[in-house]
Amino acid sequence: MDHKETLYARFISGELSEQEVKALKQSGEWEELELITKSASELKLPVYDKAASYEKLQQSIRANNKVKTIIPKRSPGFKILAIAASLLLLLGAFLTFSNNSIQVVAEKGENKTHVTKDGSTIRLNAGSKITYTQGILKQERRFNLEGEAFFEVTKGKPFKVNTINGSVSVLGTSFNVKAWGRKMFVECYSGRVKAESQGMESVLSAQESIVFLKNRKNPIKQIKHKGPLWSQGTNKYEEEYAHFVLEDIGRQFNIEMINKSHEQLFTGMFKHDSLEDALNAVCIPLGLKWELSRDKKQVYISN
């Protein structure tokens, strides 16, 4: 029987044949195995505090220290080793310091401009976040984006922006990426960019835009503006679902939108200076009503 070498393993997983069960019971092995496996599964390990461990990990990463390792027993050569190790540590500290991780967050209701070491400018729209690591040894400039940002890229190493829905690599240029929900919207203002999502890709030239939505790619469209309208205090839409527009208002003014799931298509714009004007600009043409809560933190949308 070639199954014999896994017999006891299959006792645990319950994959024994009837004959095997019978044989084990007759020989008394069954009872023994039951006792051993049950007792073993009742063994308890010392408690592991995940949250505290994570906190510790974060601290050591932030401090750019190497995580503590076990210390070998001291030997005559210990001093020399120690000196060599501290030199290494200094080098490590230098390398990791010059290779640190950076996170920039624009809270809801604010925009933020960040300039990278190489002089590229990233303007984050409200509620968006960008993370990247900076290092002299990096082969390319790579950023992770949650939300929307406008990039003005200096010449140099390849420049790439990853979002949850796809990525944009720069071929030398300025462009805007908007990726909320399952949609990625890219506008290119100068130079060229390559946008990729779900295995599809498009190369955009200046004054072109494209939308990737779920598994679909819309045709490339011409645009007239020379930079993202949001950075000039305006959001503009062409046949956009109302709920996307309402979500944008929510992020822009740091307001929670209640019952925003309206499917009408909106064409038009809103400005960033007044919540009421923005709501009117969107709701009136769509025949929707809005109401602001007393604490001014929520807006209720109704038909």
Partner: protein
């Protein structure tokens, strides 16, 4: 596609999901709890450093491989015994003191025998018994075939039966 692990929230979820299983695995392997927990920290620090080149789906096997290698690189460690938490006594209180004594004796013999199992058998056995992992899952984490896991499990149980016969 975007690489998620460099995103702190995703990195954190990977940590919360896998750190305990990894720590247990390293404890079974090294029998040294402090070392196991240090290695978990080290492995995750490495993962964070390499977050751009490790895909999210590969993170788990990366962690198991890296921490095993880190362990191998440590200076030879002294013989140690695997320790478990003192388990509460059986709930049934009608048991005789004699029975309790026997039970205690059996349990401590079992713990000793598990600790003395060859490393490969011990790891597989405890990952299944304590962490309740399926053979397929263990195979994936250790980078071996499911059949190999089952063989090790069988060998471990054959070994443990011996102590039982001596009780």
């Amino acid at each position: 596609m975007a690489n998620g692990i460099c995103e702190e929230s995703i990195f954190k979820s990977v940590f919360l999901k896998h750190s305990e299983g990894l720590r247990n695995f390293l404890y079974y392997k090294s029998k040294d709890l402090n070392l196991a927990e240090d290695l978990v920290q080290e492995a995750f620090a490495k993962l964070w450093e390499k977050c751009e080149s490790v895909e999210l789906e590969k993170a788990k096997s990366y962690l198991y491989t890296v921490s095993s290698n880190l362990f191998l690189n440590k200076v030879a460690h002294q013989k140690v015994v695997l320790k478990f938490e003192k388990a509460p006594h059986s709930e049934k209180d009608e048991q005789t003191p004699h029975f309790l004594l026997e039970e205690q004796e059996f349990k401590s013999k079992l713990e000793k025998a598990i600790s003395d199992l060859p490393e490969k058998q011990r790891i597989v056995f405890l990952m299944n018994r304590i962490d309740q992992k399926k053979y397929r899952e263990i195979a994936e984490e250790l980078g071996i075939s499911q059949k190999a896991v089952e063989k090790r499990m069988h060998l471990a149980l054959s070994q443990l039966r011996k102590i039982h016969n001596n009780v």
